[in-house]
Amino acid sequence: MSIVIALLIFGLIAVVFGALLGFASVRFKVEGDPLMEQIDALLPQTQCGQCGYPGCKPYAEAVANGDAINKCAPGGDDTIKRIADLMGVDAIPMDESHEQDNTPKVAFIIEEDCIGCTKCIQACPVDAITGAAKQMHTVLIDECTGCDLCVEPCPVDCIEMVPVKQTLQNWQWDLDAIEVVQID
C-alpha cells in the first residue's frame, strides 16, 4: 500500500512539475536566437562580407551555429575576444586569410575619374554611395562602413580606401608617451 502511495505521490509531483515546465516553456518562450542576436551586437556591422557571409547577421548566425569566431576582419581581435567571452570559448587569433589591418577606413571616390557606372552603388551594402548613371558618385562618409566592397567593382579604379580622418571627436590621447617601468 505504501508503495502505491509513494508512486502516487511521486507521480503527482511529476505531473505538477511537468505542468510547470510546460507552462514555463510557453510563457517564457524566447523568440528568435538570443545568442545570434548577442553575437550580432558584437560585430562591427560593416557588412563587408570578408567573413564569407553576406553581412554581419548571417555571420553571427553562423557563429552561433558553430562557425569559427575569428573571421571578422574589421572587428579584429577585440571582436574575437568579445565573442569568445560571450560564447565561453577560447579566443583564437584572427584568421590568417583576413586582413590584419583594421584601422577604420572609408571609401573615397576620386571624382575626376568617376565615370558614373553605378557599379559601386550597387555593391554598397549600406547605400552609402550616392550618384546616378553617368553622374559623378560620391561616398557619404558618415554612412560608409569601410567594407571596401565598392573598390572591386569599380571599372576605373577610382575608389580608394582612406583612413578615417581624425577629428576632435575621435581624437585619442597618445599613451605611448607614458612609459611603464617594471619594479623588480
Partner: protein, 1084 residues
C-alpha cells in the same frame, strides 16, 4: 535639523570627500592688476569654441569686420557664435592648430586687426528689467557666451531653465593652485559681477544665490560682499581651500550638502551654477552689449619674468601672451594651458586663446617636474582617498590599461572629473588621469562606433528589404511578361490549330464533293474490288482536299482577322502569328495543288503528305492544347498520358494518312472518304460557327481557339470515325450505322454550333489551361445532360428498342458495326444516364433501364463475340484499368476516366443486368453520384466499376477495342488478307462473327441505325459534356488499340496499319465527342 541657509549663515559648510592641498602659487599673479594687452598681429578664432555644433560662418576672406561683429550664426540652440575681437580684415578662413592636446587643425577665422579697434554699433541697455526673459536669453546667446569655467557649455541653454531653481551658485572658488584670473576679475569688476548676478536673479528667480569662494581670496571676498550687500538672496560662502572645490559637483556638495547623482545634472537638485567670469560676461553682454570677445587669462609660472593676469582678446596666440609677460623660450620649456592639475601641455605656442582658456602656465622644471617615468602601482590606495568623486582610481587604472571598457563603465569612470588628484598623490607617478582620459575617449569612440554600427545595420537591413522588394517586383514583371508571351504563342498556335482544323474540314468537304460520285460507285464496288479505283479516287480526293484547304486558308485568314480584331490591340504578335499560320497553311494547300498536274499517284501522295502535315500541325496544336494540361499534370503518369495522347493523335494523323492511302488503294476508301467528307462538311460548318462565335469569347481568345482546335481535331476524328463507319459501309450494317452516325454528327455539329453561339461566354470561363476545362466539364456535362435530357429520353427509348432488337439478334454474336454502335450507344446511354441522374430522378430510371438494356446487349455481344477474346481483353483491361486509375488521379486523366467510366458504366450495367437487377440501380446511383461529385465521383465510379469485375472493365475496354477491332474488321473484310491478319487476333474472331451477323441481321442494323442516330444526337449533347473525358478515353482506346495493333503488326503490317487507322478512328470519334462536349461546355 537646520536648513542649508541657516548653516551657511552660521558659516558652517559641508565638505566633499577627498581633495588635496597642492602648494599655492597664486601669489605669482594675484598681486598685479589685469593688464590689457597690445593688439596682436593676428587673431585666430576657432569656429567652435564650445560644446555643441559648429555654426555657419557669416564672413568670407577679405571682409572687413568691426569689433563685436558676429562671425558665425546661431543655427541651433547648441551653437554659439563668435565675434570679431577687434576691427580688421578677415584674412582667411582655414584650418589651424587649436588649443587642444592634439594640436589638431580645426577651421578657424583668421583676422588681421587694423588697429582701429572700432566697435560695431552697440546698444547700451541700462534697464535690463525691461527685457523679457526670452530677450535676455537671446542676448546671451547672441553674445556668444559659453561656460568660462572650463567646459564651454552654452550659457544661454543653462540660463534658459524652467522655473524651480532653488539655488543659483556662483562659482568663484578657483581652486587651481596657479590661477588667479577670477580672483582679479572679482577684485576689479565686482560691480559688474553684481550686475550679472542681478540679471541672473531676474532671469532664474532662485530662492538663494550662493557665491562659493575659497578663503585664499580675501580681497575678492570683500569686494563681492560689498557689491552684493543690497541683495538679500546672496550669500557669499567662504569655503576652506581644498582642491578641487571649484568642481561643479564638489562645490554643490560643499554648499548644500547634496551630491549630484551620477548621470544627472545639478538642475535636478534645483541648482544652477555659473562661473563668476561667465556672470561678468553676461553683465557685459546685457548691459553694455559687449559680446564675449575677451577674457582674463592668468599668464603665470616661474619661467616668466612678469607673470600677470591679462585681458586677452579671444584668438590671441599663446606666444603673444607669453611674449607680453617676459617669456624666454627654450627647448625644454613646457607651456601648459589650464592649471597644473587639469591643464595640458600645449604642443605649439601658436594656438589661440579661446573662451575656456583661463591660464597659461610656463613652469620651470623645478616647479613642475616633467612627466616622470611611471612605475608599477603599489596599491597604496592614496588615490582612492583623494578622489573627490569617490571612485576607485586604482581599479579604474587597471581596467583602463586592460581596455576593459565595460568594467570601466561599471566603475563609473564617467563620473571622474579629471581633477588629477589621484595622479598628484600617486607615489608611483602613474599618470592615472591620462589613462582615464584615454579610456573616456575610447569609450566615447566605441559608443560612436556602436551607434554607427547600429545605423549601418539598419541601413543594411533596409537595403536588403528594398532589394527583396525589387526582386519580387522584377519576378512579378517577368512572370507577367512570360504570361503575355505564352498567351501570344498559345493564341498563335491555337489559331494555327484552328486553321489546320478548318483546312482539314474543308479539304474533307472538297473531298466529299469530289468523291461523292466515286463513293456512290465505290460503295457498290466496295466489297468486290480490293483496289481498282483507289488511285484515281485518291487523287480526286487529294485535289478536293487541296481546294478545301485553300478555302480553309482563306477562312483562316478571315478568322485570324476576326481574332485579331477581338484581341487586345497590343497583341500584334497574335496577328502576326496568325499570318504565319496562314502562310503555313497556304503552303500546305499549295503543295497539293502544285502536285496535281503530276501523276495521280503523286497527287495522292502529295495529298497524303499535305494531309499528314496538316494533321501533324493539328497534332501539334493538340499538343499545344495539351501542353496547357501538363500544368495539372504533377504526376508523371499524367504527362505520359498526355504524351500518349499526343502520340495517339500523331498516330491518328498518320493513320488518317494511312487510311487515305489505303483509301487510294481500296475502293472502300472512297466510300469512307465520302462519308468523311460529309462528316467534315458538318464539322466544317461547326467549325465555322465556332469561328464566328469565337470572337465573342474575345476575352479568352486563346483558350477558345485552342479548344476549338481541339474540337476541330476531334471533329476530324469523328469524321475519321465516320470514315471508319463508312468503311464499315462495305458491310451493310456498318454503312447504315456510319450513315446514321454521320447524320447524327451533323446534327450534333449543328447543336454544337448553336450551343456555342448561345453560350460563348463559357469559353472565357474555360480555363486557359485544359485543367479548367476539366473542372468545367462536369458543369458543362450537367448542362449538356439537361439539354440532352429531352432528347435522351426519346433516344433512350429508341436505343432501348434498338438495343432490344439488336440484343435479340446479337444473341449469338454482334456485328462490328453494332459494337461500334453499341459503344456509341453505350456512351450515349451513359451520358444520358449521367444527364438523367443529374437532371431528374425520373429520367434516371429510364436511362438506367436503357443503359442496362444496352449494357446487357453489349455484354451479351461481348460474350458472344469472343470467349477467347475475353482473356486478352481482360488482360488488356487489367492493364488499362490500373492505368486508368492512375490517370484518374489527374484531371487530364479524368477525361479519359470519364470516358472509361461511361464504358465502365455500361459494362457495369451489363454486368449488373446479368448478375442482378440490383446492381443496375447501383450503377445509376453511382452515375448520379458521379454527376454530383463530378470528376472525383467519376473516378470513384471507375474504381468501383473496376473493382466489381474486371470483366466489366474488360467489357468496357472490350467495347473500345471491339470498336477498333470492328473497324479493323471492316477494313479486313474489305481486304481478305487483312481479315486473316485480324483473325489472328482473338478479337478478330468475334469481329468476323459480328460482321457475318451484321450481314444477316440487316433489319436489326437498320434499327440500330435509327437508334444510333438518336443516340448520336444524344451523344453529341452528352458527349460535349464529357468531351475531354472521351478524348482521353479515345486516347486510352487508342493505346489499347495500339497494343492490339502492335500485336497484330507482328503478324501483319497491313493489318496493324488498319488497326491503327481504326484505333485512330476510334480515338477520333472519342475526340469528336470530346470536342462536342467541349463546345457544349463552352456554351454552358
Amino acid at each position: 535639523m537646520e536648513s542649508v541657509i541657516e548653516r551657511i549663515d552660521k558659516n558652517k559648510f559641508f565638505s566633499f570627500s577627498g581633495g588635496i592641498h597642492p602648494p599655492q602659487q597664486k601669489f605669482l599673479s594675484n598681486d598685479k592688476p589685469i593688464r590689457p594687452l597690445s593688439l596682436p598681429q593676428r587673431l585666430i578664432l576657432p569656429v567652435q569654441q564650445h560644446i555643441g555644433n559648429v555654426a555657419d560662418i557669416l564672413v568670407k576672406p577679405g571682409d572687413k569686420v568691426l569689433k563685436g561683429q558676429p562671425l558665425t550664426a546661431i543655427a541651433t540652440p547648441m551653437t554659439v557664435p563668435i565675434h570679431a575681437p577687434t576691427s580688421g580684415v578677415v584674412k582667411e578662413i582655414k584650418k589651424a592648430s587649436i588649443a587642444h592636446p592634439s594640436a589638431m587643425a580645426e577651421l578657424c577665422i583668421i583676422i588681421e586687426p587694423d588697429g582701429d579697434d572700432k566697435w560695431q554699433p552697440r546698444k547700451i541697455n541700462t534697464d535690463y528689467h525691461q527685457l523679457s526673459k526670452a530677450d535676455l536669453v537671446a542676448k546671451i546667446a547672441q553674445a556668444g557666451i559659453a561656460g568660462m569655467g572650463g567646459a564651454g557649455f552654452p550659457t544661454n541653454i543653462k540660463v534658459n531653465s524652467q522655473a524651480g531653481v532653488k539655488y543659483l551658485i556662483i562659482n568663484a572658488a578657483e581652486c587651481e593652485p596657479y590661477i588667479t584670473a577670477d580672483d582679479l576679475l572679482m577684485r576689479e569688476q565686482a560691480p559688474t559681477i553684481a550686475d550679472g548676478i542681478e540679471i541672473l536673479d531676474h532671469m532664474l528667480e532662485p530662492e538663494y544665490i550662493l557665491i562659493g569662494i575659497e578663503d585664499n581670496k580675501p580681497e575678492a571676498i570683500q569686494a563681492l560682499k560689498t557689491v552684493t550687500k543690497h541683495l538679500d538672496k546672496v550669500r557669499v560662502c567662504v569655503l576652506p581651500t581644498k582642491y578641487p572645490t571649484g568642481g561643479e559637483k564638489q562645490l554643490i556638495s560643499a554648499l548644500i550638502g547634496k551630491e549630484v547623482p551620477s548621470g544627472s545634472l545639478p538642475i535636478d537638485l534645483g541648482v544652477i551654477m555659473q562661473n563668476v567670469a561667465t556672470v561678468f560676461a553676461i553683465a557685459e553682454a546685457i548691459i553694455h552689449d559687449i559680446p564675449l570677445i575677451r577674457r582674463v587669462v592668468t599668464v603665470t609660472g616661474t619661467a616668466l619674468k612678469k607673470p600677470q593676469n591679462v585681458w586677452a582678446l579671444l584668438g590671441t596666440q599663446v606666444q603673444h601672451l607669453l611674449d607680453q609677460c617676459g617669456y624666454q623660450h627654450h627647448d625644454q620649456q613646457r607651456i601648459i594651458m589650464g592649471g597644473p592639475m587639469m591643464g595640458f601641455t600645449l604642443p605649439s605656442l601658436q594656438v589661440p586663446v579661446v573662451k575656456i582658456t583661463n591660464c597659461i602656465l610656463a613652469p620651470t622644471n623645478r616647479e613642475i617636474s616633467p612627466a616622470s617615468k611611471e612605475i608599477e602601482c603599489i596599491r597604496c590606495g592614496q588615490c582612492a582617498e583623494v578622489c573627490p568623486s569617490n571612485l576607485l582610481p586604482q581599479e579604474l587604472q587597471w581596467s583602463a590599461k586592460a581596455k576593459d571598457y565595460d568594467q570601466l563603465e561599471a566603475l563609473n569612470l564617467s563620473d571622474c572629473i579629471d581633477c588629477g588628484a589621484c595622479a598628484y598623490v600617486c607615489p608611483s607617478h602613474i599618470p592615472l588621469v591620462q589613462y582615464y582620459r584615454v579610456a573616456k575617449a575610447e569609450i566615447k569612440a566605441k559608443k560612436v562606433q556602436e551607434a554607427k554600427a547600429e545605423k549601418a545595420k539598419l541601413r543594411f537591413e533596409a537595403r536588403k528589404k528594398r532589394l527583396e522588394k525589387e526582386k519580387l517586383a522584377r519576378e512579378e514583371k517577368q512572370r507577367l511578361a512570360a504570361e503575355t508571351r505564352k498567351n501570344k504563342t498559345k493564341s498563335s498556335g491555337a489559331t494555327g490549330a484552328v486553321a489546320a482544323a478548318l483546312a482539314r474540314v474543308k479539304a474533307k468537304k472538297a473531298q466529299q464533293d469530289a468523291s461523292e460520285n466515286n463513293a456512290n460507285a465505290g460503295s457498290s464496288a466496295v466489297n468486290e474490288e480490293p483496289a481498282t479505283n483507289s488511285v484515281k479516287s485518291a487523287a480526286a480526293a487529294a485535289i478536293a482536299r487541296a481546294k478545301a484547304k485553300r478555302l480553309a486558308a482563306q477562312k483562316t485568314t478571315e478568322k485570324a482577322a476576326d481574332i485579331s480584331r477581338f484581341q487586345r490591340p497590343n497583341d500584334t504578335n497574335d496577328t502576326s502569328a496568325t499570318n504565319a499560320t496562314d502562310a503555313t497553311y497556304t503552303e500546305t494547300v499549295k503543295r497539293p495543288s502544285d502536285n496535281k498536274p503530276e501523276g495521280e499517284k503523286v497527287d495522292s501522295k502529295a495529298a497524303a503528305i499535305a494531309r499528314i502535315k496538316a494533321k501533324k500541325a493539328a497534332a501539334e496544336k493538340t499538343n499545344v492544347v495539351s501542353t496547357s494540361e501538363p500544368k495539372a499534370a504533377n504526376a508523371p503518369v499524367e504527362t505520359q498520358t498526355q504524351e500518349d495522347t499526343h502520340a495517339l493523335k500523331d498516330t491518328h494523323a498518320q493513320k488518317n494518312t494511312n487510311t487515305d492511302a489505303k483509301a487510294d488503294n481500296k475502293p472502300d476508301a472512297k466510300a469512307a472518304a465520302i462519308a468523311r467528307i460529309k462528316a467534315k462538311k458538318a464539322a466544317a460548318a461547326k467549325t465555322n460557327v465556332v469561328s464566328t462565335t469565337e470572337p465573342k469569347a474575345a476575352n479568352a481568345p486563346v483558350e477558345t481557339q485552342t479548344q476549338e482546335d481541339t474540337h476541330a481535331l476531334k471533329d476530324t476524328h469523328a469524321q475519321k470515325n465516320t470514315n471508319t463507319d463508312a468503311k464499315a459501309d462495305n458491310k451493310p450494317d456498318a454503312k447504315a450505322a456510319a450513315i446514321a452516325r454521320i447524320k447524327a454528327k451533323k446534327a450534333a455539329a449543328n447543336k454544337a454550333n448553336l450551343d456555342k453561339a448561345s453560350s460563348e461566354i463559357e469559353p472565357v470561363s474555360k480555363e486557359p489551361t485544359s485543367e479548367k476545362a476539366v473542372t468545367a466539364k462536369p458543369e458543362s456535362q450537367k448542362v449538356d445532360v439537361e439539354k440532352a435530357n429531352p432528347t435522351t429520353a426519346s433516344s433512350e427509348e429508341k436505343i432501348v428498342s434498338a438495343n432490344t432488337v439488336s440484343e435479340t439478334k446479337a444473341t449469338s454474336s454482334k456485328s462490328a458495326a453494332k459494337t461500334t454502335q453499341r459503344k456509341s450507344t453505350a456512351n450515349k446511354t451513359s451520358a444520358s444516364k449521367t444527364a438523367a441522374s443529374k437532371t431528374t430522378a425520373k429520367v434516371k430510371p429510364a436511362t438506367k433501364k436503357a443503359t442496362s438494356k444496352t449494357a446487357t446487349k453489349s455484354a451479351v455481344t461481348k460474350k458472344a463475340s469472343a470467349p477467347s477474346n475475353e482473356k486478352t481483353v481482360t488482360k488488356k483491361a487489367a492493364e488499362k484499368a490500373p492505368t486508368k486509375n492512375t490517370r484518374t488521379a489527374t484531371k487530364t486523366v479524368t477525361k479519359k476516366t470519364n470516358a472509361v467510366t461511361k464504358t465502365a458504366d455500361q459494362a457495369n450495367t451489363k454486368a449488373a443486368t446479368k448478375t442482378t437487377a440490383k446492381s443496375a440501380p447501383k450503377t445509376a446511383t453511382k452515375a448520379a453520384t458521379k454527376t454530383a461529385a463530378k470528376s472525383s465521383a467519376k473516378k470513384t465510379t471507375v474504381k468501383s466499376t473496376v473493382k466489381p469485375a474486371t470483366d466489366k472493365n474488360a467489357n468496357a475496354e472490350t467495347d473500345i477495342q471491339t470498336a477498333a477491332q470492328a473497324s479493323e474488321k471492316v477494313t479486313k473484310t474489305k481486304t481478305p488478307a487483312t481479315k486473316t491478319s485480324a483473325t489472328k487476333t482473338s478479337t478478330t474472331k468475334s469481329t468476323v462473327k459480328k460482321a457475318v451477323t451484321r450481314k444477316r441481321t440487316t433489319t436489326s442494323e437498320t434499327k440500330v441505325k435509327a437508334a444510333t442516330q438518336k443516340a448520336s444526337a444524344t451523344r453529341k449533347t452528352s458527349t460535349k459534356a464529357k468531351q475531354a473525358d472521351l478524348f482521353d478515353e479515345s486516347a486510352l482506346a487508342s493505346d489499347k488499340n495500339n497494343n492490339a495493333q502492335v500485336k497484330e503488326k507482328t503478324s501483319k503490317t497491313l493489318s496493324a496499319e488498319e488497326k491503327k487507322a481504326k484505333i485512330a478512328e476510334a480515338v477520333k470519334k472519342a475526340r469528336a465527342q470530346a470536342d462536342a462536349k467541349k463546345q457544349q461546355k463552352a456554351d454552358s
